[in-house]
Structure formats: structure tokens, C-alpha cells
């Protein structure tokens, strides 16, 4: 729409001489106001009101340095700011950095910072805060699981090894200018600065605590549009508007996120008017689409989430590639996408979701072939069948999806037992390398195929780094590193394809689906948008009628 508008304006300027243009203004104003009467667009945003939202589980932390889950990343984006933010499509947009320059050799980034940003404690934000925040993530004492976000900065490796007191590639030029030099060119770096780990903290707040890892975690102070008010585990988290937000105070006075994991409860709450927006599952979608009260308030977006079953490559039976391949052949993704998860999931062929450069529509991947699975299992010595446990978050939606998968696997001679449990506990088990198989998903930190390859399949990232299946393959490692160093887009994508082919052959994960989000909002909600990146929404454009 915006692009169409720009085109119209351009055409208009070309065809109409200057003075004539002015005379048209009142005419246009009349026409547009008549056209927009009664439309949402004609309304002036109002301040006030509290957003009632829901989160599926308690955030494990609100400290950017330790954030690895989607729920805390989303909250951190509201409490803090990064140098950049993301638009709805996932393109970098200015945030604490008003603008930036990238050097000819693609190694040096100069960020010109906003001079009107304040932390929630009133402290003025400057370039020193950026330096402190980045060095904190890299510092060996911090032991952040997200060092990979920043370890490409020149001097980061030495700093992490304790051989340097500063990261040489981070230079404060003046209070509002900071220069970051990378060891080698790395195209996704700018987008990675939007990740939770690269959000800016205030040194004074961290150093207040003897053990920041535990004590700071739920006393967050950032520069973000909302400030922390309270957190009652298992119940709710309350945020209030940051009056001095550098991009202007948000319209909302505050946000209350209640902890609700159950889809049926979420829907009931939404219909009772106690939630402003709710995600729709495949079970809810047809009803809401056909309901005149709601159908005009539904939004959808292809969301870059990748759903998979992780198979631990270091433990039997999945240390045998044939067994992993067999499991990949034993799920009928197409049938599930047409029925149980209709319209909310797209069958996945490989790890790179549609919408990213490097996604291949013509990728073949694994289909449903129980005979082939049986054959592979027989070759691997499981002629009499294979039994394994798959761990997953306890939710009715997961059960509805996995009961049919259980039967599909049974047809291939695989006995898959479903173990329902607390999601955080399950993730902790994968970090300890303690379970054979688990169902989870991976959302984009930044819109680049590399984000689906390096964290998930590189042997540097075992556990919380993202490679929770402990998959290790020297050639995959080598190609990923090569792709990261490759500045040329086409060459890089060719490498991504090579990596994807290898990963598919090695099958450390059963790629099930890509996600499609559906959200319905209450009629009084204005300015609500869906974002492809999980932590892109700053909630500053949302306002409530009345």
C-alpha cells in the first residue's frame, strides 16, 4: 500500500506543474475526508488504556544477556532498545541508532545514536552504554548463551579468552557515535543487533547486585517504551508506559500479560473481552473466520517459525543416521497440514522457511514413505521396530498433532511415546543432553537463512546456543563458516543450499512445518500489526478506542 502511495505521488508531481498542485490540495482533502469517513484511518490515535495480553509461560529471565526463549525476547524488546529494530517484514530500522554507515570493506559500522533516550531510572543513554552492554555479553564471567551474536567483532575472541580488558573492535567516538569493526565481513551482523542479547542495559543497575544473574533478572531497567512494574510468576507481568521514550510515549498507559498456556482458555478469555488479541489455532480458525463479529479483525502472516522434532545425534538410537532418516520418512506432513493444522502450518521440506533468501520452493526433502523407513530401520538393526520417547510441552494442541504422528510412525514400525512436560524443564534437559527426542520450534532472530543453519547445526552451539540435538558434522561446520565469511549474496546462497542438502541427508531434525500466524483483535484495538521477527513489536503504534 505504502509503495503504491509513493508511486501515485511521484506520478502526480511529474504531471502537475507546481502552482496547480497547491490548488488541488483542498479538493483532495475534501475527497479523502469523505472517503475516509467512518474508516479507522480517519481516527486520531488516543492515549490511555491498558493492553490485556497473554504469554504462554513465565519468562525465564528479563536480562538480555541470558535471553534465549521467545517469551523473554518479546518482553525485552518492550523494556529495552537495541541499536536497530525491525519492521513488520524483518528489515532493520533505526532505533537507538538514528542512522548508520557501513564502510567499503563491509567491516566497519558507524552508528549515530539518538541523543534523547533515557533509561527508566532517568539516566541519559550514551555510546558508553552500548560498549558496556556488548562487552558484558562477551565477558567470560557473564557466561551468556548468546555470545555468538557479538563474537564476530574484532578483538571479541581475545576478550572472551580473558586476554584483553576491552573489545578492540568497539570504539566510542563521542557520546552519540560508536564504531564497531568486525574481524571479517559478515552480512547479517546489522540485523543481529536487533537480537535480545544486543539490547542495551545500564551498568549501574547491573552492578547494584552481588549476583546479577539471579537478582537483576526480574529487576530490568532499559530505555524501552515500557518499564517494568511487577511480575508474579505463573500469574502476570505488568508494564507501564515510559513517559520519556525517545521515539515518543506509547499510546498505551500500560500492558498486562497474563500467563495462560491453554488455547481453549485463551479463546474463552478473548471472547469474554478480557484479552485484546489472541492467536488462533487450526481448531479456532474456521469459527472465527465465519463469525461476523470477528472476521474483520483477523490478521495473518507467514511467520518464519520452523517446527521440528529434534533427534539427539549423540545418543542411541539416533546416533545412527539411518535411524534419523527413517523417522524423517515416517511423518505425513502434507496430510497433517490439510487436516489437523489446516491453514496454520505449511509442510516443511528443509530448515530454511519461505520468505528468506535461500528458501527453495523446489526442494524435495522427505515425504511420507513408511516402507522406506522400515527398510532403513532394518539396515540399522531395528528390523523388529524402534521405540523412542518424544518430549514436548504439555498442551492440547501438541497432543492433537502428535497422536496422528504416533500412528504414522507405527505404520513404519516405530513406537513413539509422547512425554508431556513443562517446556522450560524440557529445554533444560536438551541442554544437558539428557533426552533422545523433543518437539520444539525455532523462530528467526533476524531474517537471514544463516540464522537457521549456524545456531541449529554448527557444533559450536550445543545446548542453549541452539544446537540442542548435539549435531556435529565437520563439513557442515566448514560450509557454515565459509558462508558467514562470504560477502557475495549469490555465492552465500549457493553455500546455504549445499548446507541444507547436507543437513537433510544427515537428518538431525525432522522438519515438520513452517508457521502461519493468525491473530484476532478486539474491535476497539487500532494499529495492531503482525511482525515476522518474534521480538520486533514495540507496541508503540497500538491504541484503544474509548
Amino acid at each position: 500500500m505504502r509503495r503504491l502511495g509513493q508511486l501515485l505521488v511521484k506520478r502526480f508531481r511529474r504531471t502537475m506543474p507546481g502552482p496547480w498542485r497547491l490548488s488541488l490540495i483542498p479538493v483532495l482533502a475534501l475527497v479523502t475526508s469523505a472517503f475516509l469517513a467512518g474508516h479507522a484511518l480517519a481516527e486520531t490515535p488516543q492515549y490511555g488504556g491498558t493492553w490485556m495480553g497473554a504469554i504462554a509461560n513465565d519468562p525465564p529471565t528479563l536480562d538480555p544477556a541470558y535471553s534465549v526463549a521467545a517469551v523473554d525476547g518479546m518482553l525485552i524488546a518492550l523494556l529495552y532498545d537495541g541499536l536497530i529494530g525491525f519492521d513488520t517484514e524483518g528489515r532493520p530500522i533505526p532505533n537507538l541508532a538514528a542512522r548508520w554507515e557501513i564502510s567499503e570493506d563491509n567491516r566497519t559500522y558507524t552508528f549515530y545514536l539518538v541523543d534523547n533516550a533515557y533509561f527508566h531510572n532517568g539516566k541519559h543513554f550514551t555510546a558508553e552504554d552500548v560498549k558496556y552492554s556488548f562487552e558484558r555479553v562477551l565477558h567470560p564471567d557473564t557466561a551468556s548463551p548468546r555470545t555468538w551474536v557479538l563474537d564476530r567483532i574484532e578483538g571479541a575472541k581475545e576478550f572472551m579468552a580473558g586476554q584483553a580488558s576491552e573489545v578492540s573492535g568497539i570504539r566510542v567516538i563521542d557520546p552519540y557515535t560508536i564504531q564497531i569493526t568486525l574481524a571479517e565481513p559478515f552480512a547479517p551482523f546489522l540485523s543481529m543487533l536487533g537480537m535480545p542479547a544486543a539490547h542495551i542495559v545500564d551498568r549501574n543497575e547491573i552492578e547494584k547486585y552481588a549476583d546479577p544473574r539471579t537478582d537483576y533478572a526480574f529487576n530490568p531497567v532499559g530505555t524501552g517504551p515500557f518499564k517494568f512494574v511487577s511480575f508474579n510468576p505463573g500469574d502476570r507481568i505488568v508494564l507501564g508506559a515510559h513517559e520519556d521514550y525517545h521515539a515518543g510515549r506509547p499510546y498505551l498507559d500500560g500492558i498486562v500479560y497474563r500467563v495462560i498456556s491453554d488455547q481453549a482458555t485463551l479463546i474463552a478469555e478473548f471472547e469474554a473481552g478480557t484479552l485484546h488479541a489472541v492467536g488462533l489455532s487450526a481448531a479456532d480458525l474456521p469459527r472465527f473466520r465465519n463469525d461476523p463479529r470477528y472476521r474483520d479483525y483477523i490478521q495473518t502472516q507467514n511467520n518464519l517459525w520452523l517446527y521440528f522434532i529434534g533427534l539427539n545425534a549423540t545418543r542411541p538410537p539416533f546416533d545412527d543416521v539411518r535411524v534419523r532418516q527413517a523417522v524423517s520418512w515416517a511423518v505425513d506432513r502434507e496430510l497433517l497440514a490439510e487436516t489437523v493444522v489446516k491453514d496454520t502450518r505449511i509442510p516443511a521440506k528443509g530448515p530454511i522457511p519461505p520468505g528468506l533468501d535461500g528458501h527453495r520452493e523446489d526442494l524435495v526433502g522427505y515425504g511420507y514413505d513408511p516402507e522406506k523407513a522400515r527398510q532403513l530401520l532394518a539396515e540399522a538393526g531395528y528390523a523388529n521396530g524402534l521405540t523412542f520417547e518424544v518430549h514436548m510441552a504439555n498442551s492440547d494442541v501438541n497432543v492433537q498433532l502428535f497422536e496422528p504422528i504416533q500412528q504414522m510412525m507405527a505404520a513404519a514400525g516405530i513406537r513413539m511415546e509422547i512425554v508431556l512436560r513443562d517446556f522450560s524443564a524440557m529445554l533444560a534437559d536438551t541442554t544437558r543432553n539428557a533426552i533422545d527426542a523433543f518437539y520444539a520450534s525455532w523462530g528467526a532472530d533476524y531474517p537471514e537463512a544463516e540464522n537457521y543453519l549456524y545456531p541449529l547445526f554448527h557444533s559450536d552451539n550445543f545446548g542453549a546456543g541452539g544446537n540442542r540435538t548435539s549435531f556435529s558434522h565437520p563439513e557442515v561446520d566448514r560450509l557454515i563458516e565459509l558462508a558467514q565469511r562470504t560477502a557475495d549474496r549469490d555465492e552465500r546462497i549457493a553455500l546455504y543450499h549445499q548446507i541444507e542438502d547436507l543437513v537433510l541427508e544427515q537428518a538431525p531434525r525432522v522438519f515438520l512445518f513452517y508457521g502461519q500466524t493468525w491473530v484476532v483483535t478486539r474491535p476497539e484495538v487500532r494499529g495492531y500489526q503482525l511482525y515476522r521477527i518474534f521480538n520486533a513489536d514495540k507496541m508503540t503504534g497500538i491504541w484503544l478506542v474509548e
Binding site: A283, Q407, I418
Partner: protein, 306 residues
């Protein structure tokens, strides 16, 4: 005592009451059975319980489809029809077959957990009653008060969370939370009975403590045990439903009524039969056991009749 025809074996209620504890050539149980047979409501409960037990025993032969493996995603969430009497669920499985198989789980849980309760409750209760006033009594009673002070469902949830979900967890959790009531009931009964003359007599002729408790005292408290057992089954079935509903019971794809209701909730607007069918099954079962339990109490111990 009123006269009665020599040819008749029947006794009227008045006769029974007048007879009191006098032995009339019939066992206490036979007497109770006669009283129960006259209680039509209780008999309805009994017939239902027997019917449900048969359904549970013969589930694989009664169910037209396999409750787990006969799935068909192209035929999911269908309303009741000739092929599927109670429709199909989210995986396209026959709901009727799952209900029938679910009866097995529910009744097994009800019985097993009550047996655990029985062993713990009767054993400890008899012990505490016989040794009333000693440290044994003290220990058992304080322990039962601790267990009883905590809301039983919360305690069952805590136990289930601690030892991990599953059907055996349910047996243990429900058995463990239920014993305190049974224990106090038995202790009270034993306290009264052990002062009776026949116990004194047994002691006088040199019977061992074990023999006195198990041969002389416990048979006298069968009535309250049977009543508590029957009523308890209904409670255990409800508790199993709650645990399964919370995902702490038998794991998918095992068809239990509680989990069927749990996983059907998200389809309540488009396929309400998925919630109703197991709900009605639970209702009927619990009601049947309660009716039977009530009737048994009246029949076994007419003095407590309200």
C-alpha cells in the same frame, strides 16, 4: 417376637429390627443382601455398576473400532452417525470405542486406588485402634491428620508431579491421599469393639494380638469398609478425571475419560459431542457407585439409616 409362617424364609423390616443381633440362621451378609434387594434405587446402581464392569471387561469385543490405531484424519470431528455412534474425534477415531475402553481405565483406577487405600487404611487403622493410647496410635493418627489436612486433589497433583505422569502414578497418588479417612473410621470401630466381651474372651483363652485383630475384630467392621470402598470408587474416578484433565494421568494416546475431555476442549464449539460423551460416561459411573454405596450403607447398618 412376632410369629411367622414356618414355610417362609422372608423377614419383614420390623422382624429384622426386632431380631436385633440375635442369630437367626442367616449370615449378616445374607441379611444385608435381602435389605439391599428391596432398595430399588440401590439395585439400579448395582445393575449399572455390573453393566459398566462388563463393558470394561469385554471392551475389546464391544468396541467396533480400535480406540488408538483406527484413526482417519480425513474423517475427523464428525458428528454422531450410523458408522460412529458418538462421532469421531480430532484424529478421526471412533469416540464410542474410546469411551468403552475408557471404562477400563476408570474402573481400574477406581478399584486399584481403593485397594491401596484399603490396605493402608485398614492396616494402620486397626493397629491404631488396638493399641489406642500408645505411641503407635499417636504416630498413625498424627500422620493421618497431616495427610487429611492437605486438600486431597492438591496432594494427588503434587505426588503426580513428583513421580511423573502416568497411569501408575494415578494409582499411587489416589491410594495415598485416601487412606486417612479409612484409617480413622477403622480405628473408631476397633476402639468400640475391642471392649466387647468376645474380645475379652479371646484374650482370656490366649489368642495372639494378630489373631484377635484379624479374626475377631476386623470381621465386625466389614460393613463400614464395604460402604467406604464403594463410595470411594466414585471419588477416585472423579479424581482420576481431574488428574487426566490436567495432563497428569495416563499419557496419550491412552483413552481415559478425563483426557478425552481435556483434549476435546479446543473443539467444544465445533464438536461439542467430544466433551459431552466422556462427561456423561463419568456422570453415569459416579452416580451408579454413589447409589450403590448409599444403598449398601442402609442395608449393612440399618441403625445409621437416615
Amino acid at each position: 417376637m412376632t410369629a411367622r409362617k414356618p414355610s417362609s424364609n422372608l423377614m419383614t423390616a420390623t422382624e429384622t429390627a426386632a431380631a436385633g443381633n440375635v442369630y437367626l440362621g442367616e449370615t449378616q451378609l445374607a441379611l444385608a443382601w435381602r435389605r439391599l434387594r428391596r432398595d430399588r434405587v440401590a439395585m439400579a446402581g448395582l445393575v449399572l455398576v455390573l453393566f459398566l464392569s462388563l463393558v470394561a471387561i469385554f471392551a475389546p469385543w464391544l468396541a467396533p473400532y480400535d480406540p488408538v490405531t483406527d484413526y482417519n484424519l480425513r474423517n475427523r470431528l464428525q458428528p454422531p452417525s450410523k458408522e460412529h455412534w458418538l462421532g469421531t474425534d480430532a484424529s478421526g477415531r471412533d469416540v464410542f470405542s474410546r469411551i468403552v475402553h475408557g471404562a477400563r481405565i476408570s474402573l481400574t483406577v477406581g478399584l486399584t486406588s481403593r485397594v491401596v487405600t484399603l490396605v493402608l487404611g485398614v492396616g494402620l487403622g486397626a493397629l491404631a485402634g488396638y493399641f489406642a493410647g500408645t505411641w503407635v496410635d499417636m504416630l498413625v493418627m498424627r500422620l493421618s491428620e497431616v495427610v487429611d489436612a492437605l486438600p486431597s486433589l492438591f496432594m494427588a497433583i503434587a505426588i503426580a508431579v513428583a513421580i511423573g505422569p502416568g497411569i501408575y502414578t494415578v494409582f499411587i497418588a489416589l491410594g495415598f491421599v485416601g487412606w486417612a479417612d479409612m484409617c480413622r473410621l477403622i480405628r473408631g470401630q476397633v476402639l468400640t469393639i475391642r471392649e466387647e466381651q468376645f474380645v475379652e474372651a479371646a484374650r482370656a483363652i490366649g489368642c495372639s494380638t494378630g489373631r484377635i485383630v484379624f479374626r475377631h475384630i476386623l470381621p465386625q467392621v466389614t460393613a463400614p469398609i464395604i460402604v467406604s470402598l464403594t463410595m470411594g470408587i466414585a471419588g477416585a474416578i472423579m479424581a482420576e478425571t481431574a488428574l487426566s484433565f490436567l495432563g497428569l494421568g495416563a499419557q496419550p494416546p491412552t483413552p481415559t475419560w478425563g483426557s478425552m475431555m481435556n483434549y476435546a476442549r479446543q473443539y467444544i464449539y465445533i464438536a461439542p459431542h467430544l466433551v459431552f460423551a466422556p462427561g456423561v460416561a463419568i456422570l453415569i459411573t459416579v452416580y451408579a457407585f454413589n447409589l450403590l454405596g448409599d444403598g449398601l450403607r442402609d442395608a449393612l447398618d440399618p441403625r445409621t439409616k437416615t
